[in-house]
Point group: D2
Amino acid sequence: MTETKPRLRAAPLWTTSGPWLNTPKGEPLALADLRGRVVVALGFQMLCPGCVGHALPQLARVRRAFHPARVAVVGLHTVFEHHAANTPETLAAFAHEYRLDFPIGIDATDPRGGRTPVTMAAYAMQGTPTLLLIDAEGRLRRQNFGHVEDIALGAEIALLVAEAGGAPAGPSDVAASAAAHGRCAIP
Amino acid sequence: MTETKPRLRAAPLWTTSGPWLNTPKGEPLALADLRGRVVVALGFQMLCPGCVGHALPQLARVRRAFHPARVAVVGLHTVFEHHAANTPETLAAFAHEYRLDFPIGIDATDPRGGRTPVTMAAYAMQGTPTLLLIDAEGRLRRQNFGHVEDIALGAEIALLVAEAGGAPAGPSDVAASAAAHGRCAIP
Amino acid sequence: MTETKPRLRAAPLWTTSGPWLNTPKGEPLALADLRGRVVVALGFQMLCPGCVGHALPQLARVRRAFHPARVAVVGLHTVFEHHAANTPETLAAFAHEYRLDFPIGIDATDPRGGRTPVTMAAYAMQGTPTLLLIDAEGRLRRQNFGHVEDIALGAEIALLVAEAGGAPAGPSDVAASAAAHGRCAIP
Amino acid sequence: MTETKPRLRAAPLWTTSGPWLNTPKGEPLALADLRGRVVVALGFQMLCPGCVGHALPQLARVRRAFHPARVAVVGLHTVFEHHAANTPETLAAFAHEYRLDFPIGIDATDPRGGRTPVTMAAYAMQGTPTLLLIDAEGRLRRQNFGHVEDIALGAEIALLVAEAGGAPAGPSDVAASAAAHGRCAIP
């Protein structure tokens, strides 16, 4: 198994334009800055119903379930349609209203004038939402267009975290939220 | 970390009465029979709304996400109220209608006449639903009364699977279901 | 329009066995007792997932939305499968756990030994859940097998209530619940 | 009852700026144009999560449940925050992606420079979503800030439709959708 790992491809760098949301002074966040942590990145568009209804809320659940020292969550606004509608001002208002508080960068416009932005093309994304799982050494381990079930996503992230830790991380690293809702208690 | 493991308590045995559902000829399934696999067991009651609405559907998602050679799913019908209503016939009909096709045993009645059945008492369960995670060596690693988020549960199961495998299991062991629903595709 | 109404068929009587749930002393409730009120009756089985997951919660919403002096809600336990599992004790426990507090009668067993109970046969119900709308004069106005959208159901009930009132009932008869959840308020 | 009706206040006119969405050539739609039909109008903002997640999908269900000759559905984009983000281009893209195909007008900016747009002020709306029910004679019958249950909304609309029809409209005017999902059928 170990000999297959060197063949994993490094995740393409992302190329963004303008300031980021939710970083100090809007400084861009580079993939290299996150080395040592598992990265869960989402290519999304704020006008994509599947992103708003499913993928972005799932990203919030990822943040709740994993410690930020182990797992970094990143949004990439990969706009390939309705370019005029997707201004930075609108994205900032969207992020504010939907309480998105993780770093979000704006995928850079194709310098040759195409509709598909640079990072989206570098990953050959088919559309939005696209989820990227990048391991602690910066290698792309999964790319997924569309919905992924929470239980499978939690499993994959945990294995990448364990892999990065040398010794596997114990379950105590993982937050489990037990809700009183719907329980039948012995009186 | 390795030195702490021997101190983990072995999961109590479960004690059931009568035939099981979904085992060959209704033969009881013992915890020892599952050694080598991670066990996800659920203490439930068929008349507990939180079990029916949340915990049992989650168990079905666990089955979909993990390979049965790695993860065994078990139901324990731990009745502590409405004993007269919870007949084996009703449980069988319930399991049939809700398409529960994993092994289900009926927790044995307290021989001293108490309301709490034997396995429920052995685990000191507070009520239903109660989720048990037992590692491949038969040690109880988590016990949870009430709802657990899918993403955290998937993470915990995956780590126990990895732990059992010597080398960590790769993400390829985990089924990811990507649905076309709600995607915005590049035309 | 008025001349077509006399041709509407009277709703078949229902025939139940044993005491009712949620009536004084378990006295049976006859359709004639409800004359003057619109009746929303549900043929259900406690082991039918669609009844538990959708139709019974909808019935609770009907009760919240309409005044009990105008609209009566009734459950009919119409068992056509798993007869041995559906004991009165189990139904009582089910109703208790699911907080069903409207009158529920048990459809009488076919005296000729068939699987379909008497009321279910009288209405030629195809299965469960089956919703019956009966007007204030005891005439069957709608019979529906499966899910009905809340908005259409609310509309139909309201029209039957208005019809019964001589002058149409005003919107003030209808409870509207506005929740603060998800509102964006002017600061 | 009839003598109280003349006292109902006429709904304020709405004042919009620029072309409408989903009208012929973007022509503005005036409230007077809808006389004879019940009007269900929604004050919303495309960046308000409660509007996107709840109120706009509910409006789509209203359209499915009632005949367009009886009930007109109208959207009013009442922007009171993030003005720079809410451009007409973004609204058009939003409406396209979310498949909003009913007429939508943009509430006119306050000529005195305030944040609250003209129609929003005329109705004294507290925020978004705000639902307006206007009867066939153009009188405001309900104004609601926040979520309303479908069953109550369906009831109120139906009564206004019946009121407008002289003779009450029969239930046959109302579409009921019965889904096979979750049904237990007699074999």
